[in-house]
Symmetry: C2
Subunit: 403 residues, 2 copies
């Protein structure tokens, strides 16, 4: 078997953790597997490097920031190779230049395009464990790039795809994917298997175990992902195309507190006014989520929608700026204490009762629903942030997810 194993910064934060990861990889190697390891920068290294850069130049170019940040993973991989070597197993570290990790040109947020696997295959055939820098790539100018948030997961999945690996294991500090965040829903249960699509809905909804981009790539290339803990030997959660037939109607409940609701009241009801509103926001890179539009009345209508909380004030400012022009309205309201709660499950595609069951559970728990949004495998409600725990536990219970 060829296995790609990815460990995050916390897992390689100090000497003991480095050796813990080394031993873990060696176990698989000694069973006769070929092992490729992808590492992030150690602990807080990336933050420390960013602080150094800010001290020199608060507006440093992304090109130079990437040049600086990529030293972080190079440090991790070389130290890991030394650790494995001291445990008697031949290992070699490789950076983005050495594996020709080609990306788009965008510094700070590049996308992987192509990986040259020759060097890795050569080292594997020499019976070495190959340790590759996550998060980093090189672009057509022969410059370092970084892959943005969740970048090392993406590196691991891309390597697994390019090497046609039998599995891609993503190590985290939890045992796998849960039916809900155990800190909020104490009866939450680990999921053994989940589809890519469900995982995508869960990660975009703030389950936070895997980054969307890595799941999308895994789905595209059919890479079998395994999310498991770096602290124990439990099985973890397998993410793949089709899961066992005895699948549940709903596989998980997720919440996202990084949400704010903006209401544009008594907006002049002319053709194209909604388009203009969302176009202004899109031009500033602001993504809009659950949209609700009232029926027109007296030549006006109300439009409300959600955005990420950290861009909410900017969004309001943008709208205010156009109030005397293309967006005539009586006022703009901002509500920050809201959260999204969602149920996700491939099973609901063939079962219309999921939304109703969720609403019933929330009604029984006295949680008021402000807005609703659905996809084929997801139902999302917007509620008051203070009801998140109540709502999640009620929904989790209603779908018997702890069983």
């Amino acid at each position: 078997m060829l296995i790609v194993k990815k460990f995050g910064g916390t897992s390689v934060g100090d000497k003991d953790r480095i050796f813990n990861v080394a031993r873990r990889c060696i176990e698989d190697y000694k069973k006769g597997n070929q092992v490729v390891v992808v590492l992030s920068a150690m602990g807080k290294t990336t933050d420390e490097l960013l602080a150094k850069a800010r001290e020199i130049n608060p507006n440093a170019s992304k090109r130079e920031l990437d040049m600086l940040l990529t030293t972080g993973e190079q440090t991790s991989v070389s130290l890991m190779a030394m650790a494995m070597d001291s445990l008697g197993v031949p290992a070699i570290s490789l950076n983005a230049f050495q594996v020709a990790m080609n990306t788009t040109s965008t510094y700070g947020n590049a996308r992987l395009k192509r990986i040259d696997t020759d060097r890795i295959k050569h080292e594997l055939s020499n019976k070495k464990i190959v340790i590759v820098t996550g998060f980093q790539g090189i672009n057509k100018y022969d410059d370092y790039t970084t892959l943005g948030r969740g970048g090392s997961d993406t590196t691991a999945v891309a390597l697994a795809a390019a090497l046609r690996a039998d599995a891609c294991e993503i190590y985290t500090d939890v045992d796998g994917v849960y039916t809900a965040d155990p800190r909020i829903v104490p009866t939450a249960r680990k999921i053994d298997e989940i589809t890519y699509d469900e995982m995508l809905e869960l990660s975009s909804l703030g389950a936070g175990v895997l980054h969307n981009r890595s799941v999308e790539m895994a789905k595209k290339y059919g890479v079998q992902l395994i999310v498991r803990s770096s602290l124990n030997n439990k099985e973890g959660t397998v993410v793949k195309e089709v899961v066992k037939m005895e699948e549940l109607l709903v596989s998980g409940v997720a919440c996202d507190r990084n949400t704010a609701r903006i209401a544009v009241i008594e907006l002049e009801d002319r053709p194209g006014v909604a388009f203009k509103l969302f176009n202004h926001l899109a031009n500033h890179g602001i993504n809009v989520d659950i949209i609700l539009q009232s029926v027109g009345r007296n030549g006006t209508k109300d439009i409300s929608f959600t955005v990420a909380e950290d861009v909410a004030e900017e969004a309001v400012k943008i709208i205010e700026r156009h109030r005397t022009g293309s967006l005539k309205c009586s006022r703009v309201e901002l509500e920050k204490n809201v959260a999204k709660v969602s149920v996700v499950g491939a099973g609901m595609m063939t079962n219309a009762g999921v939304a109703a069951k969720m609403f019933e559970a929330l009604y029984d728990a006295n949680v008021n629903i402000k807005q609703i949004s659905t996809s084929e495998i997801r139902v999302t409600v917007l509620i008051d942030e203070k009801f998140v725990e109540t709502a999640m536990n009620a929904v989790h219970e209603a779908f018997a997810l702890s069983k």
Copy 2:
């Protein structure tokens, strides 16, 4: 003019120093020059990285050590580019992969072979200051290598040669090359011009301003070196092929305390015994310096020689190991409290009186000479270490070097 400027680790040790170097380079840039900057790792970075490595694996492979150490210069160059950028001057940092700094394969002590200057020329033509990582290269396996001691000086000279630069400025914490170490000889005077050969003798004799390899390379490719201070704007010392005709007989006095003397007493006087002795040492990578051989007597002779103090005990062990075999002798003596004092000067090639004048000065100062060695432009004596100051001042005075 195209100028290559090299700054060591101390010169980029913190934010203030980084900006100091940045401003220095920008001055030249604003005069219309093309500027290439070569940097070492910041302050104690290399030592800290080595300590980290030792903690993980005291016998780490040199391949992985180089992978780790090269992050040091990459950090310096990216921060420097950010600093220049914040001062309004476009700059770009490049590492060994990006300038294809090809070296031999030997990790930890590689030699530069070839540099691809396309990228640098391209960035210079875009009016950028180009900042290149010193000390590091890549070998034919596409792995990082490092150049060993004085590596960044060598990088700078090699770049200056490849780019046919008009000058290569090596910045240090002293004003230039002195007639003697000012800490030992208070009347020492800065030298304005010196030949490559004199500089080679001085640096190999412990003057310690420039590393031998960089001077050798500068001589080979005719690169005009300028040694000057990063702390002030003084002219510094120019190192080149031919200096002004009014050159002094002697240009400097150097000392080397890292010296020990080994005497092999009553060595069996057979043909090839000296060869065997030095061959055993060479096989262990031990360089032997000033050799003195006594006239044979009773079928034995004494051979004494100097080695670097830090390998002296190893050298003695090697000889002891062969005492019952190829190197029969009555005993091996080790004397550590010795030092070499040398006078260097291209002028002495045509003047036989230099050695005599030096010996006279030492005699007058009551300094006993243990051994003597000479080259075309150098006279070296081995003396008791405790007489180093007296000897240097006496010789410095005798040749009127402070004038």
